[in-house]
Symmetry: C2
Subunit: 504 residues, 2 copies
């Protein structure tokens, strides 16, 4: 069938065309079908959308990807023909039916994700099938390898150590301590990290306060080798790019995080930088991703088995994730607290967690004797060597190595929330803490966030400050304050939780 092209110069993420609904009907082409689009000997496979209006009968709207592939201009005579969906769609349907997928089938799906051959709905079906049916370890191994092999792989030419957190806990700035401790102990730790999606600050957002974090793979390699460590944003490195597509198009919109995908995603990012020894932080407790210790132990076993298959030594640390680590939440506030901690003025929970995890890695690397890693890491921190190393890393990434905590600008609008009574803090609600910090503006407003004084187990007196909220904009501050009043993120024994009937 021949159509006149009408260029629609928008990038839609994958080769797509739009037909008039009457033409689509009379040619038997449907929304989300694939067609072969040909012009002067060139062919591209495109997904079909339909319209009642914008494109007339006999016309084909070609979006930028198709326009560029075929070098089209308005009015060119383009032919289209039916074509089958990619073979990988059959494998997705197979997984929908609960079958196990082979290595080649999983590679085919991931290749088509990277090449934009699958629609969002098809990718969603794959992720939902993982969510419902799970994957066995053979499938997870294949998925991990497929994620790695369809992206950049960086070879540092020497032994690479790494750490990663399963996530879910606000204020978890431990990487800003672990990386310099490990590096100061003589090991190479080129850490890639992510920006916040649903949290108030990702490690890349927090590190971004102290130094640039966006680099090419080549720059990343140079920096990490120079400073024997780095903390950069993974988003522009092209490591496991399929994972980014899956997160952006499906996991984030649906709040979906299939267990098998989580394992594969984390281990793929480690494998892509050639890590040979990795510590995985598994925060556990109410309001974190892993609710209880049994589940955390199962996850640990799976991480270790997957690591064994991939040739990566994995040590897992099951940590307490029931409330924020340290006191601060939000990019600037967290960077400040991390820097203060490197300078010897940090809160115990942050020092203990960072040095415990760093210690596991030092033991696994043979730098510290078994059971002495924690102590070793603490000494490195206390000696000031970790701080010195962090300043080298900041400099290598192009930041100011002499940065002081007081240089970092927190939001100028601030409000405090006071304890309504004397008593012990019995409960801190992670998700309320995250929501309040985000409404205050974090991570986009980098100085926004909160400081939590009323952590679980503390004894507070009536009118003690239990929470400070910071914002860059006063409207955001009052929205965050209202949310805090409504959500009551900190529970104090004896506190009146609700009045019934509610105030109206």
């Amino acid at each position: 069938m021949e159509f006149r092209s009408k260029v629609i110069d928008i990038q839609v993420g994958r080769p797509s065309i739009v037909l008039n609904e009457s033409d689509a009907e009379s040619t038997g082409v449907r929304v989300h079908d694939r067609v072969k689009v040909s012009f002067s000997g060139q062919t591209v496979i495109a997904l079909v959308e339909t319209t009642e209006t914008y494109v007339g009968r006999g016309e084909i709207g070609v979006f930028r990807e198709v326009k560029q592939s075929l070098k089209l201009k308005d009015g060119d005579s383009v032919s289209i023909a039916h074509t089958s969906p990619p073979e990988s769609l059959n494998y997705i349907k197979k997984k929908m039916g609960g079958a196990l997928l082979s290595r080649d089938e999983i590679f085919s799906i991931i290749e088509d994700v990277v090449d934009y051959n699958l629609s969002d709905v098809e990718i969603a079906a794959f992720m939902m099938s993982q969510h419902f049916h799970g994957m066995n370890m053979d499938e997870i191994e294949a998925l991990t390898r497929a994620l790695v092999e369809t992206g950049e792989i960086i070879d540092f030419g020497q032994t690479v150590y790494d750490k990663h957190s399963v996530g879910g806990v606000p204020g978890n700035k431990v990487s800003l301590l672990i990386v310099p401790i490990i590096s100061a102990s003589g090991l190479l730790i080129p850490k890639t990290s992510s920006k916040a999606i649903t949290s108030p600050s990702g490690t890349a957002d927090t590190m971004g306060i102290l130094a640039p974090v966006e680099f090419s793979p080549q720059e990343f390699k140079q920096i990490a080798l120079k400073a024997s460590g780095a903390i950069v944003w993974g988003g522009r490195l092209g490591l496991a790019p399929a994972d980014d597509v899956l997160i952006k198009r499906v996991e984030y919109p649906l709040g979906l995080d299939p267990y098998s995908q989580m394992l594969a995603s984390i281990m793929a990012k480690k494998m892509a930088v050639g890590a040979s020894c990795v510590v995985i932080d598994i925060p556990t407790g109410r309001g974190s991703k892993v609710e209880d210790e049994d589940e955390a132990r199962r996850s640990s076993a799976d991480f270790m088995e997957l690591g064994r298959r991939l040739g990566i030594r994995v040590v897992c640390g099951i940590t307490y994730g029931g409330q924020p680590v340290g006191h601060t939440v939000g990019p600037v506030l967290e960077a400040k607290e991390a820097l203060e901690t490197l300078m010897g003025k940090g809160p115990t929970s942050l020092v203990e967690k960072s040095t415990a995890l760093a210690g596991l890695l030092l033991e696994a690397a043979g730098v510290a004797a078994p059971k002495f890693g924690h102590e070793y890491a603490k000494k490195v921190l206390e000696s000031g060597k970790a701080l010195e190393k962090m300043r080298q890393i900041i400099e290598a990434q192009g930041g100011n190595p002499n940065v002081k905590p007081e240089d970092l600008q927190v939001g100028q609008h601030k409000i405090s929330i006071y304890s309504p009574c004397d008593g012990y803090v019995t409960e801190v609600d992670n998700s309320a803490i995250s929501a309040i910090a985000r409404i205050a503006g974090a991570p986009v407003d980098r100085g926004a966030g909160l400081v939590l004084y009323g952590k679980r187990g503390r004894y507070v007196k009536k009118d003690d400050v239990i929470l400070e909220i910071y914002a860059e904009r006063s409207t955001r501050l009052s929205e965050a304050y209202n949310l805090a009043v409504q959500k009551k993120p900190v529970t104090i024994e004896g506190m009146l939780l609700h009045r019934v009937p509610e105030y109206t």
Copy 2:
């Protein structure tokens, strides 16, 4: 945040805007997020897409739906603000987690489907959750009512009878016999039907050969009341419109047909025309939707229970669906066979199935005594009254009431396939039959299709014609012939099925 509008005059199916990726990042807006878009006191909620190129920084691309709602032109100053996804997305997530949904939650989801407030990925998540977790009868009842109440409801002002098939069998033109038989027996049967999506001909495609089938609800009502029956396309009537969205955007692209949705979809279409008594055809057997009789009995029980709750009397007929009904497949060929059968020259399988199902409805209506419906229906058919009634229906719909089978133009290109040996036909493959007819051009090429002579159980001799393929285009004919040679849709006892190694 303020942006300059850039109109993109394309209808994309739901309110959508596109932002430059840098703007999206700095404002914390992500792909598939919702934003409130405001201009001169008017506000609309839109889904976000992002682009690296087409829309510059400070610009907002507004697609037609948003352009029209806010009456925008290029360069208008538009503000956007974060907003939460619709409440119904939480219910979808609840269903993803396996929970039961309340009536109100299901209504909320279906209302948002109809109002285009949910993205394709979110709708896919709802359908996949139905597929994996199923729904209990309370949920299915709520789903059915929600489908009905969010669309047109037609009140015929008198008792309405109806029939429907669960589908899956090629050549199932029984509605073209059942409707006139029921109508000629004095009952009102305003049948809505669908066009083919994956099959070679839907009932609306087949009826479309004899008369127009596209009407407004008002016209449909007039026609049905005038002729005491009708067979029209449901696609333009606005009955249960959410169902059409679900099929178009998710079920068809993924080949997904959740059981709960199937029940609700069928019963909603019946309820929307006010049917009080319905016969449901459940074709059963290898290669049809319902594989065995146990499953067919369970489906029957569910249809009856759902009917009871909705105030519709349901009778189910479990029929043999292992091969095509009658001989023909494809719009013209099927219309021709149906007309010949009304004229007393039809194949036994088509006569028996049509009159058996019509009989069940006549018994339920009290027109025929229990167990005598089949005989009653046969008499109506043999008497010529059904033919006479069909001619009235054709005329009422604007077709030629005097149409003769030989007036109907089958495809001018034809090829026969012969039996390779003497023997009994032991197997007919429904999906191969459908695929061959579709490759031949059906239903778009209305004269394309096939005639199956070698039905299961027949004794055929070497060189007997077992299959004739018709096409309107010679290229299609040879493609269909090649597929037939490859798929061997008819198996004859003693026939060599494969040569090993294959010919190369």
